[in-house]
Homo-oligomer: 156 residues x 2
């Protein structure tokens, strides 16, 4: 448990620091900085995780890998629900997202949530990018600590 | 393994970012920023780890806890060697420190090492601080990825 707690504490420190540097008004800058850090980490992580994985059949196969192996490796649980329109849009639902639990006590934190999801959006985008898929990844929170990640793949 | 890798990647991203912001000349500023982030994380972590731990008899007892439980929880191994002069100075040796392994290929990285140890120095100082011990914590690398942490406790 220690290692994951260590990651959570470091993640929180990083969010706090990036936020304080961006200033209160520059919410977008803060989110994009964190997303960029996640992107580079995601690129490195997927390389390690796919070393012994079989080649992927198609896009959906990649997404299943992200929802199962990738998520479990990083967050100790699978994505709870995966939906797709079969046209390059995927919605990944996590009913209890680990990085939100420290800020999930009370509605007043709802507006803080995007900052705690930006790094993870980047992780997913970086992982997909390394597998040859360009995408945009955004996150949505309605009731903490549940959240949805929306992935829209770019047509080549 | 995924969670620890996630921490390593995030840690590396954070070092890179703090460094690029501090500028090449401001090595000391970079180290002190990272140390401060570690300090706050260490304070939080030790609270969780000592919830069910028995009270400590003395300073040495605290240091043994740091070398065993604290280190194992965070880095999957104990400190390899603990020395003390019994006057408030402790030297903790880790023969294979996890956060150095990504940068341990080659001598040219030796000067980079302090940046990769600063967060951990802060972790230890924060943990001790929460246990009522003020200290200064510095790190020393001779042959990577081995390193020593020097802890000097302040007399009350």
């Amino acid at each position: 448990m220690g290692e994951s707690v260590l990651f959570e504490f470091l993640h929180r420190e990083m969010v706090t620091r990036v936020q304080s540097q961006a200033g209160d008004t520059e919410h977008g800058k803060c989110v994009s900085t964190l997303e960029g850090m996640g992107f580079r980490a995601g690129q490195g992580l997927i390389e390690r995780f796919t070393k012994e994985a079989p080649a992927f059949k198609d896009e959906l196969d990649v997404m299943k890998f992200i929802c199962k192996e990738f998520w479990t490796n990083l967050f100790r649980k699978q994505i709870d629900n995966l939906r797709t329109n079969h046209q390059g849009t995927y919605v990944l639902q996590d009913h209890r997202f680990r990085l939100l639990t420290p800020v999930s006590n009370g509605k007043q934190y709802l507006e803080e949530a995007p900052k705690f999801l930006a790094f993870t959006c980047g992780l997913v985008r970086g992982a997909l990018s390394n597998l040859g898929i360009d995408s945009t990844v955004t996150a949505e929170v309605s009731v903490m600590p549940a959240c949805k990640f929306h992935i829209v793949m770019q047509k080549p």
